[in-house]
């Protein structure tokens, strides 16, 4: 049965992932992508068709539907910045959010997710939006303001009133829960590409 799955996967992807485990779970991910909209996604990806799934479909996936940041996650990983994802974007998202992604990579993407206005800084308004999404608007304005001020106080190292990527990374890598809970999905079995030299040598048919 798994051979049937493997045959249907994109030729390029198959070449890039000689590892059996990776191939198997890549095929699973591909089918999950396809199951969101079977009429839009073709089975044969050899010609690299330009198929984008709209955000509404992505946001209805069980891993994302309860996540308060699902819209931001989809926007960050999509090419057009609006949440419509191609297969590449989809794989990207799962590979970063899997448990095997390195910590620095997760920190980088976490920063982009929390940066609502895409200006490469987490400013006070971004923090307020994050907090409101996290508590579903149950805190009063005063409380929200106080928390945001406290966060800027704690994490802003260059004293410009907002968090840059370095500030964020400096703060987040020390968090005890970061790797285990945050930015981790069920699909622990996807892994980002391992660009090791020997694998490529093996695949060369010259």
């Amino acid at each position: 049965m798994k051979n049937k799955h493997l045959q249907k996967i994109s030729f390029i992807i198959l070449k890039m992932f000689p590892n059996f485990k990776q191939q198997y779970f890549l095929s699973r991910l591909f089918h999950r992508y396809r199951d969101l909209a079977p009429q839009l996604v073709p089975l044969d990806y050899t010609n690299q068709p330009d198929v984008r799934l709209p955000y509404e479909l992505i946001g209805s996936m069980p891993e994302l539907k309860d996540n308060p940041f699902r819209q931001r996650i989809a926007e960050v990983f999509s090419e057009d910045g609006e949440g419509n994802m191609t297969l590449d974007d989809f794989l990207d998202m799962f590979s970063v959010l899997s448990e095997m992604a390195p910590r620095d990579l997760k920190a980088y993407y976490a920063f982009k997710i929390y940066d609502f206005n895409n200006d490469n800084f987490i400013c006070k308004s971004d923090l307020e939006k994050t907090l409101n999404k996290l508590t579903r608007n149950e805190l009063t304005e005063d409380e929200v303001r106080m928390v945001c001020e406290k966060v800027i106080d704690e994490a802003d190292l260059d004293n410009d009133g907002r968090l840059s990527l370095e500030d964020f990374q400096h703060m987040i890598v020390r968090a005890p829960d970061f790797l285990r809970e945050v930015c981790n999905f069920h699909h622990r079995f996807t892994s980002t590409m391992r660009g090791k030299m020997r694998k490529k040598i093996q695949e060369i048919t010259l």
Partner: protein
Amino acid sequence: RRRRKVLEKLKEAVDERKKLIATLRGKPWPMRKKLESQVFVEKYEGALGKGRGRRLYAYKVMMRKVRALAYFYAFFILCLKYSGHFGSSVASYFLFLRWMYGINMILFSLTFGLVMVPEALMARPYGSIPRKTVPREEQANAMDFAVLWDFGGYAKYSVLFYGYYNNQRAIGWLKFRMPLSYFLVGVGTVAYSYMVVIRTMARNAKEDGGGDDTSFNFSWKIFTSWDYLIGNTETADNKFASITTSFKEAIVEEQESRKDDNIHLTRFLRVLANFLVLCCLAGSGYLIYFVVRRSQKFALEGLDNYGWWERNEVNMVMSLLGMFCPMLFDVISTLENYHPRIALQWQLGRIFALFLGNLYTFIIALMDQINLKRAEEEKVKFNMTIWQANLYNGTLPENSTAIPIMVDPADVPRGPCWETMVGQEFVRLIISDTMTTYITLLIGDFLRAVLVRFLNHCWCWDLEYGFPSYSEFDVSGNVLGLIFNQGMIWMGAFYAPCLPALNLLRLHVSMYLQCWAVMCCNVPQERVFKASGSNNFYMAMLLVILFLSTLPAIYTIVSIPPSFDCGPFSGKSRMFDVIQETLETDFPAWFGKVFSYASNPGLVLPFLLLMVLAIYYLHSTSKTYKHANLELKKKLQALREKTVLSSDTARNKMSLQTPREKETELNAELCVIQCNTITIRYNTINKISAAYNSMLI
């Protein structure tokens, strides 16, 4: 020459790409750009010659597949999928269970492969010598289920327990050294467990970074409190509520300064609570001691006179205490009025003390029984000489025993075997503990859920929201139970080689049963927080338990002589004499001499002193490193305030373009050379690939 230069440039470009690819995983590039880099290397690597790592790589792939199978992905996926409903604390429990299962698998393979199987296959079979046969008096009911469940009868006289093993030095055509193997496996299981636990602790400690705990309180709350593993709306609602509550708490703490009115009352209540807890612990310890004494009395008077309760009193009392005392501690801790996290730590500490106290009381009581049995040995030895004399009296009175008389092994009088008794006690304890756990699970979770669901229609108050409601999955309680069971395995594994196998079975069943119970009868916890930020809390507990549970086994090995009539060490004055014997007989003479010099106290003591000094030195250097680390952090902060931070993006853009440029350039040049002589190119490529391979080596 031009060709050589171009090929060198090509090699440089490929090397650069390779370095880049090694860090490809960590780069925040989209998938397409990563694919391009790999295509580049693929194209030109081949031109330089195929690598030699092929065979090694294939082997690695196969090993990975085997490991994947061995990890039972099937039901592990199931557990993780369902634990998404409850958040990561439940997932962490199942991960811990899987890790324990891995350790037990290794312990099982050691005891099964090196102890049980050789004895079963190569040593003398059942019924050939007295210690391997069920005695005549017991043969009538050796097959009864009640006796087998109690691990008597045929179960007692089998490879499952210590007493079955023969003390023959080498067995079978392989000349397998059985007693040596038994001893080394016993030591090896403990050593392996230490190594694994400490290695896991070190790995966890590295991940944590060991930094400040409160310097980023609010930042961590805002960025890391959402649990991405949640996949269920109900859990998500709970999580939102708990996040809001935690923020409100933190805000209140930040806004007001802590005013402790009635500090004296709080202190008095806490002292009172601790006093009550100590009373509980003392009471439970005494109860166990009393019950074990009673069971000794029963044993002396013959167990047949008593019913099921009297026979299993000790185990049942220990299990019941383990079930009800924690609830009592929970009630007492309401007096103390601590912050919930601190209260949970106190609770765990008290349960820990309870289990430890119970276990050690049990062991002390066992020691009494061991001493009884050893006293019995003298009597039995005397009786045996009389019996043997009687046997020879019946036939020709020969001074030389050249003609051995055929006696059925079942009729030979048997010496007492304290090791088998110890093994049996531990096995019974584990079985009763397991049964209690499962029954509590079924009644406390399943039956409760059924009652709440179906009686809710015809009850005066709402059963689902008030008392009793559905039960929550108690992560810390379950983890503690797991740790203590493992401690009992470590304690008893030397005397009952079947214990790791039993534990493996138990963990397997537990995994499925608890998975089902969590899915079907439990609700997510209202208040989601953990006892500590890291897994190291439970690892540290496991390490302490490992140490404390191997102490009694080591004590018995070193100080008590083995029984004369059973086990692989019978006939020796101490169990570790087997090492001495092996050194004398199996190794060359100079080896024994070296060992005797090495084990001289004059050499061992200075070595120990040296190790203590080394530990002190490492400890002090680690302190200075921590201090230096803090200083550097401060310096970094000061530097950041001064300099302008340059972003990474500019650098990234540069590195994206230049390889492409290089690629087109090299493409063109390579085509030119290809148009020239083909054979010369082939030769140079071969030379370069050979040079490159040698560089690899």
